[in-house]
């Protein structure tokens, strides 16, 4: 009887040791991960400036035309409508003196301007509500070059006051 107990106990211990010292094993766990990118648009430089050095030259005569081009980059992952506006008139001004001011948008818009459009909100003018530009998003692109061109013309019947002429333009990207 005693021997039988010993044998069975040994068997039991052996079985337990067998479990305890079980062979190497492994347990996998898969983790699924998601992240979301929303539709958005933003300018690489949201406060760009056209400074004196950007112009083709200073105005130094009557009826003289000067131009400047500002290359802008729009980051967008959705088709965008660009709308120009100004907190003022968009006309280059120095005190009571002005220069005839007009604009063009070129670059990666579906219909770039072929000719300058006068500053103003009237029909065919640059700040008209109907004057918008489409930037068509292409999947995998996401960066679009947009050029804002400005043209300043001095009066043809007098010399404008010397000095710096300023104005501002806002290009709003909407979708």
């Amino acid at each position: 009887m005693r021997r039988t107990w010993m044998v069975l106990t040994a068997v039991a211990v052996g079985l337990m040791l067998g479990q305890t010292a079980s062979a190497a094993g492994s347990a996998p766990a898969s983790v699924s991960i998601t992240a979301t990118v929303d539709s958005f648009a933003e300018w690489a430089n949201a406060s760009a400036a056209i400074v004196a050095g950007d112009w083709t030259g200073h105005v130094g005569a009557v009826d003289q035309t000067r131009t400047a081009t500002k290359a802008l980059t729009l980051y967008a992952n959705v088709t965008i409508t660009l709308t120009p506006s100004s907190t003022g008139t968009g006309i280059l001004t120095n005190g009571t003196n002005t220069l005839s001011t007009s604009y063009k948008i070129t670059g990666e818009v579906t219909v770039p301007d072929a000719a300058y459009k006068p500053a103003g909100t009237g029909a065919e003018e640059f700040f008209a509500a109907a004057n918008t530009y489409t930037v068509t998003h292409v999947a995998g692109d996401g960066a679009y070059g947009i050029n804002l061109l400005v043209q300043a013309v001095s009066p043809n019947d007098r010399a404008p006051d010397a000095g710096d002429y300023t104005c501002n333009v806002t290009l709003t990207a909407g979708w």
């Binding site: 479990q19 492994s26 991960i33 992240a35 980051y75 996401g142 960066a143």
Partner: protein, 154 residues
């Protein structure tokens, strides 16, 4: 005598059963399947967003956690050919030295192994993921997916 043998057989059976119930010398991840959704969306170029998930490792033996993927590239958050820069961290008090102190890029993460020197019985292991959008363009809008496999070996 016959009665004693029956009684002994019951004792042995009980011991074996107890051994199996404790799952001696093993490990298991509980609470699967695991899904980690980065809570905040990316809304601009160059933005980074992160999220984490606590996984439970039940074990009664020291083990080592290694990383792998089902197919090459699964570790990178991707959507229709576009990708987000993806980084990971594995953290937890049960990990030797607490795990990663800083973000590990996705390819390096797959080469890592993490020692779990103690015997549990139940430890929380936190996986962190960071998704970073490109800085020079807008990534495509949409849901980006990735997957990694954590294997506890003993």
């Amino acid at each position: 005598m016959r009665h004693d043998i029956v009684r002994m057989a019951v004792v042995v059976s009980g011991l074996i059963s107890a051994a199996g119930g404790l799952a001696l010398g093993g490990a298991n991840w509980s609470g699967q399947p695991y899904t980690l959704a980065v809570p905040d969306h990316i809304t601009g170029a160059g933005q980074a967003r992160s999220g984490s998930l606590v996984m439970t490792l039940d074990h009664d033996t020291p083990c080592t956690i290694t990383l792998s993927v089902t197919k090459a590239g699964d570790e990178v958050l991707a959507s229709a050919g576009d990708t987000l820069a993806t980084s990971y961290k594995l953290m937890g008090a049960a990990l030797q030295n607490g795990g990663d102190g800083d973000w590990v890029d996705s390819s390096t993460f797959l080469t890592r192994n993490y020692s779990v020197p103690e015997t549990g019985p139940s430890d929380g292991i936190t996986i962190w993921v960071r998704a970073a959008a490109s800085s020079g363009r807008a990534n495509n809008a949409g849901t980006y997916s990735a997957s990694v496999i954590l294997t506890a070996s003993w």
